[in-house]
Subunit: 417 residues, 2 copies
Amino acid sequence: MHDIYEEVKKLCEGAKAAAPALARASGEVRNGVLTAFAALLRKNQEKILAANTADMEAARENGLSVAMMDRLLLTPARLEEIACAMEALVMQEDPIGLGTVQSRPNGMEIKHIRVPLGVVGVIFESRPNVSADIAGLCIKSGNAAVLRGGKEAIRSNTAITETAGDALESCGLPRACVSLIPFTDRAGAQALMEMRGLIDVLIPRGGKGLIQNVVENAKVPVIETGAGNCHLYIHRDGDPGMAVSVAVNAKTSRPSVCNAIETILVHRDVAAGLLPRIKQELEKRGVELRGCPETIKIIDVNPADEADWATEYDDLIVAVKVVESIEEAVAHINRYSTNHSEAIITKDMNAASYFTGAVESACVYVNVSTRFTDGGCFGLGAEVGIATQKLHARGPLGLSALTTKKYIISGNGQIRE
Amino acid sequence: MHDIYEEVKKLCEGAKAAAPALARASGEVRNGVLTAFAALLRKNQEKILAANTADMEAARENGLSVAMMDRLLLTPARLEEIACAMEALVMQEDPIGLGTVQSRPNGMEIKHIRVPLGVVGVIFESRPNVSADIAGLCIKSGNAAVLRGGKEAIRSNTAITETAGDALESCGLPRACVSLIPFTDRAGAQALMEMRGLIDVLIPRGGKGLIQNVVENAKVPVIETGAGNCHLYIHRDGDPGMAVSVAVNAKTSRPSVCNAIETILVHRDVAAGLLPRIKQELEKRGVELRGCPETIKIIDVNPADEADWATEYDDLIVAVKVVESIEEAVAHINRYSTNHSEAIITKDMNAASYFTGAVESACVYVNVSTRFTDGGCFGLGAEVGIATQKLHARGPLGLSALTTKKYIISGNGQIRE
């Protein structure tokens, strides 16, 4: 345990020492690293896929589920997608140096500009493409990255981060700008969470358990991402066809993702008319409905209990509740939501305005499916994650979430009287 | 102890329940509250000054220092200054609602706009004007405020926050939008630090001990402010007259504040010429110099030890170190600084650019005194504090630091394929 802590510390010190070289590199040099990274991912295809095959064999021996195995799998097509994602990053706007300049009455000039955070730590789970994604986002934004992935993907992640190191080196930058923690047990993650002064921000990418663990135990600054207990509220004047269509899309188009809905709230005035239609369309697609007592009076579904309101199923299950008013809907959402994405179906501008103002979540939709909460759909390009906290950055995180702003003041000897 | 926790929790729940009314209030209404607050501070002058007199008497009995007594004192002139500060806030730009709008190819519209954080907690020390300042900044930015001031000022703070409550009420808003925790011992502050889900951000305003305590113990998000172990580095080509003038200004114009310098670093090539002049000008103003071994070879001053490099004196003392190179100066700063404000004196653009890029602090100056790190000097208006962290906001914090951004997406039934 102590050895792991010391090893992780050494690795983070290496990242911190390497970070200034990347932070000072021009946008062209950083884009050059990304281009080289894409080329080397293609060139090293055989080596990377062999590492992935070894991961897959170990996973099979350890009895990993079919779904998990599929997440872990790399194919030539998937590796090509990863390489293309690195090239897409080249085309994104460079966030570094963006900002404002003002001249003050005493003649001094104040620049307020975006600079890299320094060293970004990321703890993630089984998908090996995340190691390339994060490495790419950090290179683009001038940050060193310290990665700690799941044990299932350790060989794939090693091959990918070594390729990133080769790309950095080929552009005259230190390999240590992208590092992978080789310890995949709890102690490796715990050590990373304690690196005050070495890790500028830690981002958990993965399921609720991982995120909760990082938020509660990290001693370094954290960007909380991902958990999505999302809601759809159908107001009394909501278009019934639109309500059903959005409910079906937001629940069933990809039930395992964080922007899928988990609870449908229906105004009592329209519950009797709408719930049978919603039940029919959702059950047709294999969804299990769980209802509040009022719901059960209208449609024959299993009962929902307190735990259902708080659960992110990430599955073909949805909780249904009849509410007396929009105020009750908002109160329910603010109580149980993870503050990710919520939607209202209404024709009433005042209801929409009250809902978007009073709901405390990062993304609030009016007559649109919650499934659009995504960096790509919002025009932000590659996404660091979806933040559900209020400080620093919220919602889909673009590259600027990996920067901080610095004041640079220049003059000719100004002093303050 | 448990009772205090429960009482503080009740008070924070009251603030959270009251916050939406203020968050939804228009800019005109919020400005109306500030105008009423200023008028009522003037109208209640007698009551507020009587409360302050009682604080002052208790302070005298408890043997408070003259400096502390002066911080605590309110006079008709000082109260008028506070009222004027509230009126100045009316003139500042409303941060709420600022942002961007974009239309996406599928016809949905995405607004990304500033909204209040919700409930802002502030822990501060003896100056009673802070309670009015924070109440005003929170009202302007649409946030409910929960204040916990020092015990010396409890009567003054109570009178001021009650006046804020009257102002809120006179504009039809809940009094609980500004609350003062009546418990001035440690348990009152500790309870506030634990209010997860009720306090959206906690800001410590005061000395190093207070800030450190909050950063280490808070379980709610914190904006770290204030501590300033600031440095002046004189490069080998720095103008000697400018170097001396900035050193004198940055150390002596107001030694007790966070943007005053605590260490002067001098390049070895110019140390022999500069140090005697710096010593003469600083000693003339009562400053004690403490030097590294190389410094002591040149000027007759007390020796500095390791602790001196890490100390924010906030007093007429300065540490002096001779460095071999600009790299050594930057390494020293990044090791010992609290990341507040640092300055370089140089004519060399490359040296300036290296210094401003490599120094990790919020504000980096080239040929300007560090004393300008201040919301007013930067044109930001009233200031929440000076942040020394990297996330959310850094440097002098304007009103926007008390906001978060929300995505509001509107459409006509868009679903994601």
